[in-house]
Subunit: 279 residues, 2 copies
């Protein structure tokens, strides 16, 4: 009997949420690294973006989403948004009875390990930079580094407008990154889930000798290790025809689906709209 | 007695709302054109922007804000947001017992009157362009014109990033406006409340012979005429020390205040945060 219950839990989906579409870069990594897992994704497209909002508001929104995901019997939750990880993870960890991880700690850990000259740059939203969360996590691990944060508020709208390879994005990247170039960082954390989509621009501008850290990749690794450790990893591939990937949004499901299909190779069959303020 | 009641109503504030800070360009025009009036402003900074969201969501948000403004005994409401005017005005008009006006109709009216060659351009958010609302209003007035709409999603983030005079904004404006230049429009409606803040860039790129219509200006004119017609105009300047201008937001009051003070000459003394989902 107990065996059955445990076996059921491993088959439960992983809940993943973000302010909108950016978290799909995390979903993409989870799909690649642990392909047996089912995912229940929520994107808060009615209230996107989070990166310019306050801790109080982002925490309230995140709490509502966690309540929604729990109605889908998720076995764990991944906060696939740097801003929500920065602002809400500590609170949410205290409030729920399943494991919850954010994208900040895994990215911070790798950056602290790979830097050679002890100069780490972080690019992210205003909120994430203002929270100093990367500084806190990195210095917990390695106290001999200095962290240089730079908010890049135009990167998200440029990515959402599709200007992934564009002279305007190059120009904005040059402005945002010039201080970090002058400082001579050797490691740069892409601290917003949209940024890996313009990775090639960022790498060209900052210089190819600088190590780029993608927290989405590191988070999927940490998620896999955590599921393994707790006996929660799904050992079997889901049955054909099962609803392995489910997508929910708070607004504009059609537009979400279109953007999502440009990020994720596996076609997103449908996205449903949820009235998130009711949770 | 009746006299007293009427005199009280004229002294009630005008409710003005927007998705965030853009509506302050409308507030600025109201302050200039009818300086005796008190204003109660609400900016939905927790859920900004509206321009990429659906009709259903924008209408729900607008309805909550109208309920909030009514708790402040406003004598009329101005929807100082093109997207909310496009999506929610028709619904809200049916539901409330005080006059309510949007920014779209006044702008449409002037454009229909001033065009000589019958080619009118409209630049706005995706939502406003998709709604075809300007087309509807303009063709109600003048059926001999053609309207060319162009969504300009990067203008709002560029304005909010402070790039009002900048080569990047010039380049983006050139891309957005090139079709309208080729078509040979003679009138261009700035159909988003942020756009008047980059009026000089828009005018330079589109050509100075093109008439720019600022719906904020036209809305303040229409508001004044409406208040006059209904006997609601405040005939006396408010007493010194009275709280003539009140500002409320759903998030980040400090940041709002800072941005607002760059738009409005009269210092904004304070902005208060409201939990708008409770309305």
């Amino acid at each position: 009997m107990n065996q059955d219950i445990i076996s059921d839990i491993t088959k439960a989906p992983i809940g993943v949420f973000d302010s909108g579409v950016g978290g799909l870069t995390v979903v993409r990594e989870i799909m690649r690294q642990i392909p047996n897992e089912s995912i229940c994704y929520f994107g808060d497209t009615a209230r996107v973006p989070y990166g310019s909002k306050t801790k109080e508001t982002v925490t309230k929104f995140s709490r509502q989403i966690v309540r929604f995901l729990k109605t889908h019997q998720v076995k764990t939750i991944v906060i696939a948004c740097n801003t929500a990880s920065a602002y809400a993870l500590d609170e949410l960890e205290k409030e729920i009875d399943i494991p919850i991880i954010g994208v900040v700690r895994p990215g911070a850990k790798v950056a602290a390990e790979v830097t050679k000259n002890g100069k780490i740059g972080v690019i992210a939203t205003e909120a994430t930079i203002g929270s100093q969360i990367y500084n806190r996590y990195i210095q917990d691990i390695n106290n001999n580094v200095t962290i240089y944060g730079k908010a890049c508020p135009l990167f998200v709208p440029l990515v959402e407008e599709g200007l992934w390879q564009d002279p305007v994005t190059d120009e904005i990247a040059k402005r945002y990154l010039s201080e970090l170039i002058d400082i001579g960082i050797d490691t740069l954390i892409m601290g917003c889930t949209h940024y890996p989509l313009i990775r090639s621009t960022i790498s060209r501008v900052i210089g190819e000798e600088v190590t780029l850290v993608n927290p989405a990749y590191e988070t999927a690794l940490e998620l896999k290790a955590m599921l393994q450790e707790r006996g929660l990893l799904n050992q079997e591939a889901p049955k054909l025809g099962s609803n392995q990937y489910q997508f929910y949004v708070s607004d504009a499901a059609g537009k979400f689906k279109q953007f999502a299909n440009s990020i994720i190779k596996y076609g997103i069959l449908s996205a449903k709209t949820v009235n998130i303020e009711d949770y």
